[in-house]
């Protein structure tokens, strides 16, 4: 970046922050005032809606917050989180700084990084939420860093997820335990494995996982990328992918577009091993009749990438108090336990068990995880998400290399 541009950016940032005193929003630290302001508000929660069980859970939350806090919660169903980002961006461009139509967004990773960098978020507010302490933020970096980007109180944790592989035990005897074994297995079973197309988040997750597994030193990936490091650091990844691709489903000439496509391929017996960003995906899909009940999950020996997803409030949201009340409720043991129940949704909690009362802990102990879900102690080590600049760069390089 040229020095002048940096200066310009700094000035712009300074002016923006001056222009952004949260006008009507109550002080997040004054919880009583927040509750009072929230009563009677209608909160428009923009959330990806591709999963019926997620939608059903959100309806349940809507009933709860209405009864408890007098907040009317409306689920704005999105096909892609970027649609909500667009809306906020357009409102900002048009100068609508306090009557925004998006009150709360389900978000993480690159979308969060982009909204934060462009001054599109309200806050800090999240660390002032009463239930926030239950996530044990001091000892849980995953709550404070979203893909290595400091959260800075601009979003509150909601769900934790981890990449897992799943396979059909009727078709695969011994599943691979690391990337080299996966390569060997794929060579022996050509056409029976693939991953989602980059830059879909699951596709990115697979190549990121491979990058971390195949590199000797991984610290470098948790800092912003420096151009001169790229080639050397990613060489093992390309060597691996170049060797893997000819043996993939359709010989690597086409890729499923997202995790749902991948799951369909599994359901149609086109492939025998797939991966997911949800540890309970396989159990849920069996219950939905999408996968045969012979499917099971597994993880690689060296651990799997995991991350959290969060609630963020746009800087111009009209109902910030209501949004905070909902985001806080989403972190309550009651809401988190309901969410973790595979019968309901099966999405992992962000709460630290040791912070809970024994009563609340019992809510979680009683949950039956489902036949294809690994219990927490078998999920292995959680590998942190590299810095977005790395993920971006390898996704770009993937395009350069494999799109012709």
């Amino acid at each position: 970046m040229k020095p002048r541009a940096t200066l310009g950016a700094a000035v712009a940032t300074a002016m923006l922050s001056l222009a952004l005193p949260a006008a009507a929003a109550p002080d997040p630290n004054d919880w009583e005032a927040v509750l009072e302001a929230a009563d009677g508000q209608t909160v428009y929660w923009n959330a990806w809606a591709g999963e019926e069980r997620t939608n059903a859970y959100i309806s349940w939350v809507a009933q709860q917050v209405n009864a408890k806090y007098g907040v009317e919660l409306v689920h704005v169903k999105l096909g892609d989180t970027a649609e909500a980002v667009s809306r906020v961006l357009a409102e900002k461009q048009a100068g609508n700084d306090d009557q925004g139509s998006v009150d709360m967004i389900w978000i993480n990773g690159e979308n969060f990084a982009a909204m934060k960098a462009n001054g599109l978020l309200f806050g800090p507010w999240a660390d002032a939420m009463p239930y926030y302490a239950l996530t044990d933020p001091d000892n849980t970096p995953a709550v404070r860093y979203d893909w290595t980007i400091p959260v800075d109180g601009l979003e509150s944790p909601w769900s934790s997820s981890q990449v897992v592989f799943y396979y059909d035990t009727a078709l695969v005897e011994n599943h691979p335990n690391n990337m080299p074994e996966l390569l060997e297995w794929t060579k022996q079973n050509p056409g029976e494995f693939t991953y989602a197309q980059v830059p879909n988040f699951l596709g990115n997750a697979f190549i990121t996982q491979a990058l971390l597994e195949l590199s000797d030193a991984t610290d470098i990936f948790y800092d912003p990328m420096q151009d001169e490091d790229f080639d050397a650091a990613t060489a093992p990844l390309w060597e691996f992918l170049d060797e893997l691709h000819p043996h993939l489903w359709r010989s690597g000439r086409a890729f499923p577009s997202n995790s749902a496509d991948l799951r369909s391929l599994m359901g149609d017996s086109e492939i025998s091993i797939a991966l997911s960003f949800s540890t309970t995906e396989a159990s849920g899909a069996i219950a939905n009749y999408e996968l045969p009940d012979t499917v099971r999950s597994y993880v690689h020996d060296s651990g799997m990438i995991g991350n959290m997803s969060f609630m963020a409030i746009p800087y111009n949201a009209q109902h910030k108090a209501g949004a905070m009340v909902v985001a806080n409720y989403l972190m309550s043991p009651e809401a988190q336990a309901e969410k973790q129940d595979p019968e309901v949704w099966g999405s992992n909690t962000v709460l630290a068990m040791e912070m809970l009362s024994s009563e609340d802990r019992a809510l979680f102990d009683d949950i039956d995880l489902g036949i294809a879900t690994l219990p927490p102690n078998e999920l292995g080590e959680v590998l942190g998400q590299p810095h977005p600049s790395w993920v971006d760069a390898i996704a770009e390089a993937w395009q350069e290399r494999y799109v012709n």
């Binding site: 667009s86 961006l89 960098a117 749902a260």
Partner: protein, 537 residues
């Protein structure tokens, strides 16, 4: 609002100077030239094949019961949303799809699906097939609405009396008169096919995808700076669509020239058997394919787990319907109220414009191309600008705003579906009425409108379907305040649960289906005793 960011201008993202970086980034994209060629050729080939099938069928069609039956099976296909057809077709022709299941393992010995690249093939054949399935019914419907005023029976009878075989008589005497009437719909098909997103996402190539899909990916990229490149891509997309239209127009001129000799060469029967057979066979194939795709969807909507290569699901369940139905009442009502309002307003606007032009003998204006811009500029590109515009004047998301943005898409479709029929209505009808001493308003209500009832209703049904199909405009301008059956369906489709997607797709098809049925039924009921008004249906 599309063009400015393409040249680096979008203040909210810090772009406040004009430059060409976005274009350089765009040119540097891997696979860009392939994306462009894919969009260009798939648009042209799709249109050509669809038109060919429709024309051949109409030529072959003799009004026998079989022809009428085929025709009746085609029109409901229009009601099925594009994405649903794509889903259905993909499941039909995939190596693990219905066709292979029906013959496996019996004929093929396959216990596992073969590893063949059929769906998402690099040449876009599957995508073109899907588009053809959707565009054939559209062109057929447009043709059927335009035909009666050409009095095709008279023309064919005359030519037959001169010794021409019926199908050749149709091709030589009716088609040259019909083409000008369906030209705008044909152009709309080209524009649509070169820029389609939803079908291309499901059926199209992936390495690289078509240009339109790439643009959507860039717009939705978490890296907001990619929007500059996406805007440049949108401008390029406009260029590709215009190039395809220009190519087609040049082709039209060439065919016109070249065909003069064939039209007048006096050959009366050569090729007539091929036409008669081919026309029916092709349309029947299209119809059966689309029906099977629909049947596949219906099966999936009640399917339990369905292991390959079973021909039918192992278990059936109503579970999927039960999970969706309780929550669709509001979206259905919104869909209907927005669709009807948009269609009604558009019909009044378009008819008023056309009537004004007819009364004052105004020629088709050049400005009408402006009307078609929303059809050829990628939606995702200019909707952002619309949201900014609406917000700038403090119009908050609401029903009326959604109706207004739907009008952008509904009006052009209504106009192109109706204008030729309107303009080509024999001016003597109104002249006779006026010369009988009837004032213009009575001539309009009692002569012109009744004579145009069928094309008007058809155009309204098309418009209703167009309104119902809008996803991004409804979501972005409605700010999520106006959920429709389509916003529900697309959101659900992103999760890819085929069974739930099937349920929503069938529900989504319901309203347009009713619309098209009424458009066909009403004239038949109203004109039950008027032979000439029943036209070709």
């Amino acid at each position: 609002m599309v063009i400015l960011p393409a040249f680096g201008y979008l203040p909210v993202l810090g772009g406040d100077t004009f430059h060409l970086e976005a274009w350089q980034a765009l040119w540097g994209r891997a696979g860009l030239h392939r994306s462009v060629l894919l969009s260009y050729f798939s648009g042209l080939i799709t249109t050509l094949v669809a038109l060919f099938i429709v024309v051949l069928f109409l030529a072959a069609s003799q009004g026998t019961w079989i022809d009428r039956a085929i025709r009746r099976m085609v029109s409901p296909l229009l009601a099925i949303p594009h994405a649903a057809v794509a889903f259905g077709l993909a499941f039909l022709i995939a190596p693990s799809g219905l066709f292979v299941r029906w013959i496996s393992p019996g004929l093929t010995g396959w216990e596992r699906p073969p590893d063949l690249l059929i769906v998402n093939d690099p040449l876009g054949l599957a995508l073109m097939a899907g588009l053809i399935l959707k565009e054939v019914p559209f062109l057929l419907l447009m043709s059927l609405a335009a035909l009666p005023q050409l009095r095709p029976e008279q023309r064919v009878t005359l030519a037959r009396s001169l010794g021409y075989a019926p199908s050749i008589a149709w091709l030589k005497c009716v088609f040259p008169a019909l083409y000008p009437l369906i030209r705008l719909p044909v152009y709309a098909v080209i524009a649509y096919a070169t820029s389609v997103v939803d079908m291309a996402l499901i059926l199209g190539p992936t390495l690289p995808p078509t240009l339109s899909v790439s643009i959507l990916t860039w717009f939705n990229d978490p890296d907001l700076n990619r929007r500059f490149m996406a805007s440049a891509g949108a401008v390029l997309q406009l260029g590709v669509t215009l190039a395809a239209l220009l190519t087609w127009w040049l082709g039209e001129q060439a065919v016109k020239r070249a065909s003069q000799r064939w039209l007048a060469n006096g050959a009366r029967a050569s090729g007539s058997t091929a036409v008669a057979f081919g026309g029916r066979a092709l349309l029947l194939t299209v119809t059966l394919l689309a029906m099977s795709a629909l049947a596949g969807l219906a099966l999936f909507s009640v399917a339990g787990f369905w292991r390959f290569p079973d021909a039918l699901p192992g278990t059936f369940t109503l579970n999927h319907w039960q999970r969706i139905l309780p929550s669709v009442a509001t979206p259905l009502m919104n869909t209907l109220s927005v669709g009807l309002a948009a269609t009604l307003i558009a019909a009044v606007l378009v008819v008023a414009t056309l009537e004004h032009a007819a009364r004052h003998h105004l020629p088709a204006r050049r400005a009408q191309w402006l009307l078609y811009l929303p059809l050829i500029v990628p939606q995702v590109a200019f909707l952002f600008g619309l949201v900014v515009a609406a917000e700038s004047v403090a119009i908050r998301p609401q029903h009326a705003l959604v109706v207004a943005v739907h009008l952008l898409f509904v009006v052009p479709y209504l106009y192109l579906s109706l204008s030729e029929a309107y303009r080509r209505l024999d001016p003597r009808w109104v002249q006779v009425a006026l010369s009988l001493g009837v004032p213009p308003w009575r001539a309009f209500w009692q002569v012109r409108l009744p004579l145009l009832l069928a094309p008007l209703l058809t155009a309204c049904a098309v418009s209703l379907a167009v309104s119902i199909g809008q996803y991004l405009p409804t979501l972005l301008l409605g700010g999520g305040r106006v959920p429709t059956i389509t916003t529900e369906a697309v959101a659900m489709a992103s999760g890819g649960n085929r069974r739930l997607v099937a349920v929503l797709a069938l529900l989504q098809a319901l309203l347009p289906f009713i619309g098209f049925s009424l458009a066909l039924l009403i004239p038949r009921l109203v004109w039950a005793k008027r032979r000439q008004m029943r036209g070709a249906t």
